[in-house]
């Protein structure tokens, strides 16, 4: 079964995953086009984080197909490395490298993986820092920044590899409330600039504003997907309605 890029930049067909005996992903099928912003929501334990982590092979799927930008995710070393270079990820726990400055955090991968020249990488890094709004923090260490600033550095670090797709795993869940907005603003600007994004989040305001589609996950299955309008006003499944009533208060 061959796949061309016309079908979508991400194509998932019947993806299954088990953690031991626990069936965490039960046949997920999803297609995404370039430039789309998809928000995934659902109760905890529903498998949404696991799902996006299978896309850049942080988790291995056991059945089904995942095809990113025409490359299929298999045990092929070359494919995995190629896909990792095209997909950027932002974590809930930031995971900045504490022993490197902000600038070094951002330039590390371009220099070592893309074999870029250090000065070139630093230029790009500064541009990205300006884009996320914190150019003055370039020479500080992560421990000296606030949570919101750290997360913005994470976004800049991911963008430095010029990915085609950005994955966000609950990016604001670990932030203090007053810092959530600054990160969401950056993400909104990213979405408007045409980046393909999958965002796992509870921030429904963000979803309403920039998402092209919202997907509801529960018990490892894709229960409902729809445009934000339809999703919030006309949820079709009982589970969706229950979930929405719990989080929209």
């Amino acid at each position: 079964m061959s796949v061309t890029r016309d079908q979508g930049i991400i194509v998932c067909r019947d993806v299954h995953k088990w953690f031991g005996d626990f069936h965490v992903l039960r046949g997920i099928s999803l297609t995404m086009q370039k430039g789309e912003v998809v928000v995934i929501c659902g109760p905890s334990g529903s498998g949404k984080s696991t799902f996006i982590r299978t896309i850049n092979r942080l988790e291995e799927h056991q059945r089904g197909q995942i095809i990113v930008d025409g490359i299929e995710l298999t045990h092929d070393l070359r494919n995995i490395e190629a896909i990792r270079r095209e997909v950027g990820m932002v974590f809930q726990q930031f995971n900045l490298f504490p022993h490197l400055t902000v600038m070094q955090n951002i330039t590390l991968a371009p220099v070592w993986v893309l074999k870029m020249k250090k000065s070139e990488a630093q230029e790009i890094a500064m541009q990205l820092l300006e884009r996320v709004g914190i150019p003055e923090q370039a020479n500080k260490y992560p421990g000296q920044l606030s949570g919101g600033q750290q997360q913005r550095v994470v976004i800049a670090r991911a963008l430095a590899m010029t990915p085609k797709i950005m994955l966000f795993d609950e990016p604001t869940s670990a932030l203090d409330p007053e810092m959530i907005k600054e990160v969401l603003d950056v993400m909104k600007e990213l979405a408007r600039s045409g980046m393909t994004m999958i965002v796992v989040t509870h921030e429904m305001g963000f979803a309403r504003e920039v998402a092209d589609r919202i997907i509801f996950f529960d018990f490892g299955q894709l229960i409902e997907e729809n445009t934000p309008e339809e999703f919030f006003h006309n949820p079709k499944h009982e589970r969706t309605k229950l979930f929405l009533s719990q989080i929209l208060h």
């Binding site: 061959s2 890029r5 930008d69 025409g70 299929e72 298999t74 045990h75 092929d76 070393l77 494919n79």
Partner: protein, 393 residues
Amino acid sequence: MRKKVASSHAIPFWRDIRVLRVVSQILFVTVIAAGIWWLLNNLQTNLKTAGLNISFRFLNNTAGFPISEGLRYDPTNVNGYAFLVGVVNTIRVAVIGIVLATVIGTLVGIARLSNNWLLRKLAALYVETLRNIPLLVVLFFCYFAVMLTALPLVRDSIRLPGFVFLSRRGLYIPSLVPTGSFGTWAWYLIGGLVLATVVYFFRRVQLKRADRPGFPIVWAMPVLLLVVIAGWFLASGNPLSVDVPVLKRFNFEGGMWLSTPFVALVLGLSTYTGAYIAEIVRAGITAVSKGQTEAAKALGLRRTQVLRLVILPQALRVIIPPLTSQYLNLTKNSSLAILIGYYDLMNVATTIFNQTGRAVEMILLVMGSYLSMSLLTSVFMNYYNRRIKLLER
């Protein structure tokens, strides 16, 4: 850009992660196995050239060399038994050394946290001095300088209270010798133990039913003591008599003799290891955050209760693992005995080797002994660790 499309079939094996994982392991194991095979091959060739083989029969041959302390032994015993005597000597030194080192270490460790400035500085001086000089220097100092030079000759022994005599030849202490009535009294001892165990479990069940905290041993101990003391009086004569060392013309007679190397070894090992244990104890106590003490006091617990119920259990969790490794170190360091003439297992093994030329066999015996001791300690420690591990999410 990418016109070629990858399908899920036919990944070339040199890029397949699963294949790479297995192949690299096979390669690694092959290299190691080849190396070992080469070594063993050399061993075989060299042994053949020398006309030797590997067998443990020599353990049944007469030893022919003296061992001046330990189990009852004379040169007509076999090599195997001689080695056993060495092992027992190692265990003797290790056990006494561990006990003393723990005592010293705990005292010094607590002293380092005392609010008495002088005590704190002295303890720090002790620790910093001993941790920065080699153990061998300490041992040589204890043996050559202290025992053999500073102490007087036997006839001018230093007399310590309780019939203990210290001289250049070693330490003479009174020993307990079982007499005729020891047999009957032994029965009282066993009976007392049995009764005490029964009382212990009975009390435990009782406390559990009443759902109250307590220590059953508080009941069991007096029972044991009562029975033992009663038995002492009821048995005819004294079950145990004290044998006191008495200075005769050239030496002491009676009592128990602890040789010079033994005393020096115990002294050196316990002071040296004690310094390390002091640091461990200090780290353990300071690891319990101040908030714990504050919370406990706020709840109204008295100072001793705070120490016993809140601080000590938490401190012990931090202390026990490195403490066990220090115990292991002490046991292994006892092998330095050979350099000061104490007949531990290393020393005996070297002598046996010198006499029989059995290099491989003796090495295996020596390593095996130490490994068993280490493994036993590790197993115990893992068990203890698992039991007291703070249950975390």
